[in-house]
């Protein structure tokens, strides 16, 4: 092969030109988010008492699984707290950035035939992959510098220049690592979807292995790139070796992917694409079966995700009283009531937040119908013996059924973590009642989505706006002293706050009746309007 890296500078420029919006958005979001959190943290815990309580909380295994081991807990400075709270999450974010940017310029371009166009010009065979990795390395160096200076410039005593740059370099090198890894998967698999799939599976596995390692077997944490990077002990010991070790691994991964790239044909991969089914399964014989099948991955992921979300909220319940008592800001966010403990008051708000988050997959499932129509795939069904009612009905049904399932999953998650961390276990009964009470509000979101699909298919985004509004008034309502009518505009504002308020069957039935009206109206609209395709 002659000149495998020909015209690489031009290729890098071209990538930067294509991503001139995307790259700054990624880098700035991660950097600004990191710096903002760093800015807020010291205000949340001001007294040394609060810090000691927090440090104590951080020894909780559930927290360690989520965040990693705490370093410098005996002198829990702002810097130590920042690194402990945020390093693993910001590293995950840069990892995701690395994966997304790399897939885009490697396997996706190849799949869409764009690399073929580029390669027909005097461009080296290895130039696209190399240019992508160089581009991402540059991006992560820039991120390192911005985060490094950004954190240092906040002027906190415990956040020195070296530590701040180490923080930046730690997340930056994770971005490079996952870019190199994705570059390797892009050689192995034959399409962009499975490249993404392998890369994200690896990312999630790295996070889980780290969690187990941090509690039981430290060697596991050293294998996982996300575990290794936490050993930098940013702002405490400032170890640089994990950064270099990760960089070294990235170089090995990149070298391997270059080799594989050089010995394969364009469009080919090393993991053969599995032949799919030649015949449809019995599930795939109705519109309902089709829509379940199409959203299978999404349904499984969200169901597991809601459980994990429940676990992560549940894991902080144990130290809640001490935690919230010392945190004035958080306490203000809770509804006021003298008769109930802080934990009980917290759970009320928690269930509302979980059901609003749980409404996201519910809405996604219903609104899938709109994207199917946009992609001209509903006409295939309607041109056969499928009525419009059975089509929109399938998606509505999935949404309605998904609501109690997501609620169940988050309650189970909450409870299974609470068992380990709480001395006075919240009764399962209260959790279930509260989850149940929130169902009608979630169903109203389904009704709204159906109504929009029926009449204003181009404005289905309004349902997201409405859900976002609900989140805002519930989450911030108490703290910002918003007037009652604002929360009454959201269905979640009408849900009785169990255990502080009585379960009200009448309210529930009224909300269900509204849902029914919305759905019926949506069906009528869908039956009378033109469909796009």
């Amino acid at each position: 092969m002659n000149k495998p890296f020909a015209n690489i500078a031009q290729t890098i420029k071209f990538i930067l030109r294509r991503d001139r919006i995307r790259i700054p958005v990624w880098v700035l979001s991660i950097a600004i988010f990191t710096i903002l959190i760093a800015l807020m943290l010291p205000n949340l815990y001001t007294s040394s008492m609060e810090r000691e309580i927090m440090a104590e909380t951080m020894k909780n295994p559930a927290i360690i699984v989520m965040l990693g081991p705490g370093y410098g807990l005996d002198n829990y400075t702002d810097g130590a707290m920042m690194a402990h709270f945020m390093l693993v999450f910001t590293a995950l974010a840069t990892g995701i950035m690395g994966i997304m940017l790399t897939v885009r310029h490697t396997r996706e371009d190849e799949e869409e035939g764009r690399i073929e166009m580029i390669r027909s010009l005097p461009v080296g065979a290895l130039s696209p992959l190399t240019a992508t990795i160089i581009m991402i390395t540059i991006v992560n160096i820039v991120l390192t510098v911005i985060v490094g200076f950004g954190l240092y410039s906040l002027g906190f005593e415990s956040m020195d220049l070296e530590g701040s740059f180490l923080y930046g370099a730690s997340i930056g090198v994770i971005g490079i690592y996952f870019a190199a890894l994705t570059g390797l998967f892009a050689q192995l698999s034959t399409n962009s979807r499975s490249t993404l799939g392998y890369s994200f599976t690896f990312l999630i596995a790295a996070y889980i292995v780290r969690g187990i390692g941090d509690i039981e077997y430290e060697i596991l944490s050293l294998i996982s790139p996300l575990g290794l990077i936490l050993r930098t002990e940013v702002y405490v010991s400032n170890n640089w070796w994990p950064v270099f070790a990760t960089l070294g691994q990235s170089i090995l991964l990149f070298a391997l992917s270059l080799y594989l790239n050089s010995i394969r044909d364009l469009g080919a991969g090393f993991i053969p694409a599995r032949p799919g089914r030649k015949y449809a399964s019995s599930l795939l014989s109705s519109p309902l079966g089709l829509s379940i099948r199409l959203q299978r991955t999404s349904i499984i992921a969200w169901t597991v995700g809601m459980y994990v979300l429940g676990v992560s909220y549940g894991s902080i319940l144990g130290d809640l009283e001490g935690f919230l008592d010392t945190s004035g800001v958080l306490l203000k966010m809770l509804p006021e009531s003298a008769d109930y403990s802080i934990t009980e008051r917290f759970i009320t708000m928690l269930m509302t937040i979980l059901s609003i988050l749980g409404s996201i997959p519910v809405l996604l499932y219903v609104l899938k119908l709109k994207s199917e129509e946009k992609k001209a795939r509903t006409a295939h069904l309607l041109a056969r013996a499928v009525s419009k009612n059975s089509l929109i009905g399938s998606y509505t049904l999935i949404g309605l059924v998904a609501a109690p399932i997501t609620q169940l999953m988050s309650v189970l998650g909450l409870w299974s973590a609470a068992i380990f961390v709480m001395d006075n276990l919240v009764s399962m009964d209260i959790l279930f009642k509260s989850a149940l009470a929130h169902l009608p509000a979630m169903w109203i979101m389904v009704g709204l989505a159906v109504l929009l699909i029926g009449y204003l298919p181009n404005l289905t985004g309004l349902s997201w706006l409405y859900l976002g509004y609900s989140f805002f008034v519930v989450y911030m309502g108490e703290m910002l002293q918003l007037p009652d009518w604002m929360s009454n505009l959201s269905p979640f504002g009408h849900i009785p706050q169990i255990p502080m308020e009585e379960f009200s069957l009448v309210k529930m039935l009224v909300l269900i009746a509204i849902t029914a009206i919305l759905i019926v109206a949506g069906f009528v609209g869908y039956n009378t309007r033109d469909l796009e395709g």
Binding site: R277, A280, S285, A379, L382, R384, A385
Partner: protein, 297 residues
């Protein structure tokens, strides 16, 4: 009873009139060609027939039933192939074919296997890997594998290679032998010429010509190429002669159908050495209708 009966069909999208009072009758056992340029209203017509779009005015009936209200019932006996076949990227071709056939109700397993083999499709591949032609094959196989009485096909061969096009034509002829009806919208005029019994030409939402190919041809001119021993005098004064062109010893011109007899009688005394005549192709018809406002015609 007509299989498809369209009367005064009008469709407006806001202020834009996509269809302006079109009429169309497809009889049982007929293969009906529907031709017109992009944006003329072909797909809109088909979508109204499928009950996906609602007519602003007029009626569209299939099997004597209302295309909008009785859509589901009608579709049990209709097979449809859209012009732009979009499939689900994560399902295989085989899965999509089965789904489509099941959703119609009836099933013909042996026909499915035969079609997959004839059209040379790998049904175990995910739809995302299929080219346009392969996606079209999926839709065609699903259509032919079902025992429909009416096939509604919207430019079904635009992505197929000539070999596959032949196989497609074979199955259309087979459908005709079985007494089935076909509404074929197409750009490939030679295909329409080969297959269709009747043709409608649509332009800017109006049907401008309709009838059997013979009838359409009759309305138009025959192309002539003539060499005579002596030069023909004042040919241009004859009624019904157009576009005279002289090259070397040869004269090219066009004659209106009804004047053909007179023209030949006038020419023969000049001593014909060579005479070639060609019926107008559909392309001639088509182009004549679409060049400007039909030109001097």
């Amino acid at each position: 009873m007509s299989i498809i009966s369209v009367r005064d069909l009008t469709k407006k999208f806001g202020n834009f009139t996509a269809l302006d009072g079109i009429n169309m009758e497809v009889e049982e056992g007929e293969i009906y060609g529907f031709i017109g340029p992009n944006g003329a209203g072909k797909t809109t017509t088909l979508r109204i027939l499928l009950g996906i779009l609602k007519a602003t005015r007029g009626e569209a009936k299939i099997f004597g039933k209302d295309a909008w209200k009785d859509a589901v019932e009608i579709h049990r006996n209709v097979a449809y192939v859209p012009g732009d076949v979009n499939l689900w990227p994560n399902l295989t071709g085989g899965e999509v074919i089965d789904l489509f056939v099941k959703l119609r109700g009836s099933n013909n397993k042996s026909r499915r296997e035969e079609l997959i083999e004839r059209f040379d499709l790998d049904p175990s591949k995910k739809c995302r890997t299929y080219s346009k032609g392969n996606r079209q094959k999926v839709a065609l196989i699903a259509a032919f594998a079902s025992d429909a009485d009416l096939y509604i096909l919207d430019e079904p061969t635009s992505g197929l290679d000539p070999l596959m096009e032949n196989i497609f034509q074979e199955y259309i002829k087979l459908a005709r032998e079985e007494g089935k009806s076909v509404l074929l919208s197409s750009h490939i005029l030679s295909e329409v010429e080969k297959l269709c019994d009747k043709v409608s030409i649509i332009r800017e939402g109006k049907i401008i010509e309709s009838g059997s190919l013979e009838e359409l041809r009759h309305l138009t001119r025959t192309s002539m190429m003539i060499q005579t021993r002596e030069p023909i005098e004042s040919l241009n004064r004859l009624k019904g002669v157009h576009d005279i062109e002289k090259r070397n010893n040869t004269i090219y011109f066009q004659v209106d159908g009804e004047e053909l007899d007179n023209v030949i009688k006038y020419i023969s005394p000049f001593g014909i050495i060579k005479l070639e005549s060609a019926p107008p192709t559909l392309e001639d018809l088509f182009l004549r209708h679409y060049k400007g406002d039909g030109g001097e015609a």
